[in-house]
Point group: C2
Chain length 586, copies 2
C-alpha cells in the first residue's frame, strides 16, 4: 500500500488523521521558513506543508531537492489550512509532512503540466503521456469512459446484446479503403480490418440475436481530413422486426438519456426532416439548427426585373441575417470575399439592408423597388434591422454556397451556443447517386440499405428517383450517426447490386455469405452507427475529436510518439511472402 | 411495429389479449383438424394454434405452405392451453391465430436448429449464422455480454477508467508474431496489431490515469492450437501505486464478484502458491486444485534398495490415487500405456496398491517390503484403498510426466466438478528462462516485469536465479490471467533489456517511447490481463472457447463462413507498394 488516501480525498472531517499520500509534485512554493508542495494525482490536488517550526532542517533540505513532476510519497498529519482554497475539494486542509520518499525523479517536462499549457500540438502529441497528465485531458478520458458505460447500461436495459465481431475479416477487391493484413499461415492471402461490422451485424439478425450492439473500433485507410482518424470508435447497433420509426425512437431515447445524464438538459422530441427539406432550407444534409437563417427561394420574384445576373441564372436563393442591417460596408465586403474565396465560390452576393425604419438599402436599388424588396423580406422572414444576402447561380452550387455562408455567419456572429444541443433526424435520403467518373450509380449510404416500399417499382425504371429507408442523426451541425432499414430479401439485394454495377460473380465473391444467409429466413431489420469520438467531443462543446482520444494519430496517419508506422525486417516480409515494391509514382 | 410481444413474454395473465408476434417457425405439428406452430425468437418459444373449428379452410391451407425457419408474423388471441408445458415460461398459453404474414421464406437449413443439433463442427462454422440461432449458442453470447457489462460496472465502481488504446501500433523487428498492416499513406511502412496494450497501459500510468482497464481485442499471428484464436479478447488492467498484494486483492474480489453473480457461489480467499511450490506439488504452474493427488518426493527413501532403475535416476516422485487399489490390471496397464504414449513419455510407472486390509501389492514387491511401502504411503498421503503411482527419471521430465498422469487420472476418474470453482494465484515466477536455441535469456512473462526487490543484486551476477513480481491467476487448471508489478525505473529496465540481449539501439528503437517516459516521473505500477474468452468458457463449465465467440476462426486461422483470408487485387497491392513474393519453401 503506497497510500491511505488519494489527493482528492481529504476534507475538514479528516483533520487530525495520519495519512500517506503519493503523487506528482505539481508546484513548489518556498518562502524559506515555510515550504508548500501541491501534490497531484487523477483525483485532485492536496497541499503539503513543511515549516521550520515543526520540521527539522535536514528534512527541509531534503524537500528542497525535489522538483516538478517528481513522484513522491508523503506521510503526515491532516491539519486545517490557514488560508483556505474554496475552488478545490481538499482546499480546507493541508498535510503537515513527517516523512517523504522520492518514488521516482523527473527531468523538466517539455511543457507545463497544466490545463493551460505552453506546449504546442506537435510537442504535446510527441509526449502524449505527459499531455494526458493535464487534468483537462484526464477529465476528457474519464468522461469518455463514463459515457461508454452509461451507453452500455442503457442498451442492455433495452435488451441489446453486446456481441464482439471479428477484426480480421474478409478483404474484398473493391474495398479500396480497407486496411489489409497479410496472413503468415496462408501466404499470399490477406485479411482486412473492418470499416464497420455491417455484414456481421446483419448476420446476427439472421441469427436471431434480435438486438445487437457493440462499441467497436473501425478502420479506414483514406486521406485524413483534420478531424478524421484511421481508426475510430463506433456505437454500432442493429435490431430485428423494426421499421424506421422504431429505430429512430429507440436511439432518440438514448441520446436524450445521455444528454440528461451528462449535461442535465432535458430535450424535446427531435426534429425530423427529409433530405430534400434539409437541402431546401439549409443547403446541407447536416444542418445546424441552433440558429435560424433558413433559406428562401427568390427565383420567381427576383427574375424579370431587368437584373441580368438573376435573369440568366437557374436559381436565386437568400437568407436573412438577424440584426445584420447595421453591418458596415467592410463587414459585408468581407462576407462577399469569403463567399468567393473557397472552392465552391460564389460569383457575388446581393445584399439588402432592411433598416429599423423599414426602409431598404441594397446593392441592387436600381433594379428592385421597395415593393419588390418587401416581397423578398416576406419570403426570407426578414425583420426590420436584419440583412438579406442573396446568391444566384446553378442550383446545386448555390445551395452549397449559401450553406457555407450561413455557417460562416454563425461563426462571425457567435450564434453557436456550446451549451445548447439541437439534434435532428434527416430521413428519406436518395438510395443512389450518380458517379460521373465510373459512369454508374453509387450507394448514398451502402448497398444494404432498403429502398422505400413505394419506390420499389422505380428500381427498374428510374433508380435515381428511388428514396431509401436511410436516416442520419445530426447534432449541432455534425453528422454523429447514420443507419437504415436493410434489405432482407435476396432478390431486392441482387437487384441493387446490379444497379451498382456489380456482376453476379462479384457480388457473390464479396457478399456471398450474406446473400446466402438471406435464404434461411432473414427477419426485417435495421440499425444505426453513431460516431463515438465525435459524440464525446460535441457533448463537451468541442468540435475536434483528438483531445478525446488517448493516443490519436496525426493528419498523415502517424503516431509521432511511437514513430509509427515504421519499416519491418526483410525476414518478416519473407515470412509473409511479401516484397516491397518500388513506390509507384504517377 | 412488427410485434406487440416477443416469444418469451406471454403468460396466463395475458389470456384474452390480442397480440402480434414475429419469429421463426421452429416446429410444425399437423393433426389435420388442428395444427400447431412453435414460434421462436431469442426470448423464447410461443405455441400458435390453428384449428378447423375456429379457422377457415383457406387459412389452414395457407398455414400448411409454411416450413421450418420461415419468418412469420402472427396476430391472434392469447388463450389458455389445454396441455400445459411447465418447462417454458409461456407454457400455460397459446395464441389462437387470426392472421398470418410470411415475412421471409427459408430453404431447409443444413442442420437442425436445436440445442442438440445434427450438424458437425465444420458445417456449423460455415453456417455460423444458423448455428447461432440455436438457443444454447444465443445463451452463451448473452452471458458473455452480461459478463462484460458486470465486469465494467465492477471496475468502474473501483475507479478504473476504460481507455481505448490504438489498434494500429508500432511494428517492431522482433515482434515476429505481430500481424502487420501496410500503410497506403506511408508506402513501405507498416503498423502492427497489438499482441496486448502492454506499453500503452504503462504509458497511461506515467500519464497519471491511476487505474486503467479495457476489454480489448488482441492479436497473435502464431500457429494455432485447438483452443487459440488469432484474435482474442482480454480484460486488460493496470494500477499505480500498488504492490503485488494490492493487485491480487483487487482482482480476487473481481473474480469472487463474478462467480457469485453468475454462479451463485461464494468463494473463500484464493490459495496463493509460489511457482516452485506449484511445480513441487503438481508439476505444473497451472494446477487444477479441485482434486488432490499432490506429488510426494520418494527419492531419498526409494533409493539404495537395490532397485536399479530408481538408484540410477535423478528423482523418484509419486502420487496417490484415491480409491485406486481396486484398479484392474488392465486399468493400470492402460495408465502406463498413456504415460508412455505422449511426447514427454515416461519409461514406466511403478504401482503400489494399498489395500483396504492394509496390505500392499506392488510391481516392485521384490525390492520393497511393507515397511518401505508404508513410508511411501505416508509421504504420498496414501490411505488404505488408494493406489500409489511412482515415476523416476530426470527431474524436469518426471514433473511433467507425473503432471500429465495426474490430469489423465482426473479425467478417467471424473474428478473435475464443473460446478466447482477453484482459483489460485501462482506467484514468484522466475524472471528469465534460458533459451538454448538463441543461447541467451528470455523473459518468462515480458521484459517489463519487475524483479523481486531482494533479488535486484542477482541481476548482475546470476540472472537465472532472479525471481519476479509476476503472478498468474489459475482457475480449474486453466491460466486465465497473468500480470506483474512493472519496472518503473529506467536503469533497471535498461539492465533487463541488456540481459535479454537487446542492444541500446534495439531497445530504443522498440521501446524508446516507454524508456523515455520513465524519465518524467513514472509511478510504481502493475497490472493484470485476464483472458476473457476462456473466462466465459470456464464459467460455463466448458473448456473450449469457440462456442463463446460469435464468429471464431478455425485451426488454420480461417473463417470458413467468409472464406477469409483471401487474395487481393494487383491494384490494391500496388497502391500499398507491395508485391507477392513466391512462397519461400524451406
Amino acid at each position: 500500500m503506497f497510500r491511505t488516501s488519494n489527493c482528492g480525498d481529504l476534507t475538514i472531517s479528516n483533520v487530525g488523521e495520519i495519512v500517506t499520500l503519493a503523487g506528482w509534485v505539481s508546484r513548489i512554493r518556498d518562502k524559506g521558513f515555510v515550504l508548500w508542495i501541491d501534490l497531484r494525482d487523477r483525483y485532485g490536488i492536496t497541499q503539503i506543508i513543511f515549516d521550520e517550526k515543526r520540521s527539522s532542517i535536514e528534512f527541509m533540505d531534503k524537500v528542497r531537492k525535489i522538483h516538478r513532476e517528481y513522484v513522491i510519497q508523503i506521510k503526515g498529519k491532516v491539519i486545517e489550512r490557514e488560508s483556505k482554497n474554496p475552488d478545490i475539494k481538499t482546499g480546507d486542509i493541508e498535510i503537515l509532512a513527517s516523512s517523504l520518499d522520492i518514488l521516482n525523479e523527473s527531468i523538466t517536462p517539455p511543457f507545463t503540466i497544466e490545463n493551460n499549457t505552453d506546449g504546442g500540438e506537435e510537442l504535446r502529441m510527441k509526449y502524449r503521456y505527459l499531455d494526458i497528465r493535464r487534468p483537462v485531458i484526464q477529465k476528457n478520458l474519464l468522461m469518455r469512459s463514463n459515457l461508454s458505460l452509461e451507453i452500455r447500461k442503457f442498451l442492455v436495459s433495452k435488451q441489446f446484446v453486446e456481441v464482439e465481431t471479428p477484426y480480421l475479416i474478409k478483404s474484398t477487391p473493391e474495398g479500396a479503403r480497407d486496411f489489409i493484413v497479410p496472413s503468415r499461415m496462408n501466404k499470399g492471402d490477406f485479411y482486412a480490418l473492418p470499416q464497420s461490422p455491417q455484414t456481421f451485424k446483419q448476420l446476427l439478425m439472421v441469427s436471431g440475436m434480435d438486438k445487437y450492439f457493440q462499441i467497436v473500433k473501425c478502420f479506414r485507410d483514406e486521406d485524413l481530413r483534420s478531424d478524421r482518424q484511421p481508426e475510430f470508435t463506433q456505437i454500432d447497433c442493429e435490431m430485428s422486426f423494426v421499421s424506421e420509426d422504431d429505430v429512430l425512437n429507440e436511439f432518440e431515447e438514448l441520446i436524450k438519456f445521455i444528454i440528461k445524464k451528462f449535461k442535465g438538459t432535458e430535450l424535446n422530441s427531435f426534429t425530423r426532416m427529409t433530405y430534400s427539406e434539409a437541402i431546401e432550407k439549409y443547403g446541407s444534409d447536416k444542418p445546424d439548427i441552433r440558429y435560424g437563417m433558413e433559406f428562401g427561394n427568390l427565383t420567381k420574384v427576383a427574375r424579370g426585373k431587368n437584373f441580368k445576373i438573376f435573369d440568366s441564372q437557374e436559381v436565386v436563393l437568400g437568407l436573412s441575417v438577424p440584426n445584420g442591417a447595421n453591418f458596415s460596408r467592410k463587414q459585408i465586403d468581407s462576407l462577399i470575399e469569403f463567399s468567393k474565396s473557397h472552392e465552391e465560390g460564389a460569383n457575388g452576393i446581393v445584399w439588402v439592408k432592411y433598416n429599423k425604419d423599414k426602409t431598404f438599402k441594397s446593392s441592387v436599388d436600381k433594379f428592385f423597388n421597395t415593393k419588390d424588396l418587401s416581397i423578398w423580406a416576406k419570403i426570407l422572414v426578414c425583420k426590420p434591422g436584419d440583412l438579406m444576402l442573396v446568391i444566384s447561380g446553378q442550383k446545386t452550387e448555390v445551395y452549397k454556397q449559401l450553406s457555407l455562408l450561413r455557417l460562416e455567419l454563425a461563426n462571425r456572429l457567435n450564434l453557436k451556443n456550446n451549451k445548447e444541443f439541437a439534434p435532428l433526424w434527416i430521413t428519406d435520403f436518395p438510395l443512389f447517386n450518380w458517379n460521373e467518373e465510373k459512369n454508374g450509380f453509387d450507394s448514398v449510404h451502402h448497398p444494404f440499405t432498403a429502398p422505400k416500399d413505394e419506390d420499389l417499382e422505380l428500381l427498374d425504371k428510374n433508380p435515381n428517383l428511388v428514396k431509401s429507408k436511410a436516416y442520419d442523426l445530426v447534432l449541432n451541425g455534425n453528422e454523429i450517426g447514420g443507419g437504415s432499414i436493410r434489405i432482407h430479401n435476396g432478390n431486392i439485394q441482387r437487384k441493387v447490386f446490379k444497379i451498382l454495377g456489380l456482376s453476379e460473380k462479384e457480388s457473390n465473391d464479396q457478399f456471398g455469405f450474406l446473400i446466402n444467409s438471406f435464404k434461411y429466413g432473414a427477419p426485417p431489420h435495421g440499425g444505426i452507427a453513431i460516431g463515438f469520438d465525435r459524440l464525446v467531443a460535441i457533448l463537451n462543446g468541442n468540435e475536434s475529436i483528438r483531445d478525446f482520444i488517448a493516443f490519436p494519430k496525426n493528419n498523415q496517419g502517424k503516431d509521432i510518439m511511437l514513430n509509427s508506422p515504421s519499416s519491418i525486417s526483410k525476414e518478416q516480409l519473407e515470412e509473409l511472402g511479401l516484397k516491397i515494391n518500388k513506390p509507384y509514382n504517377k
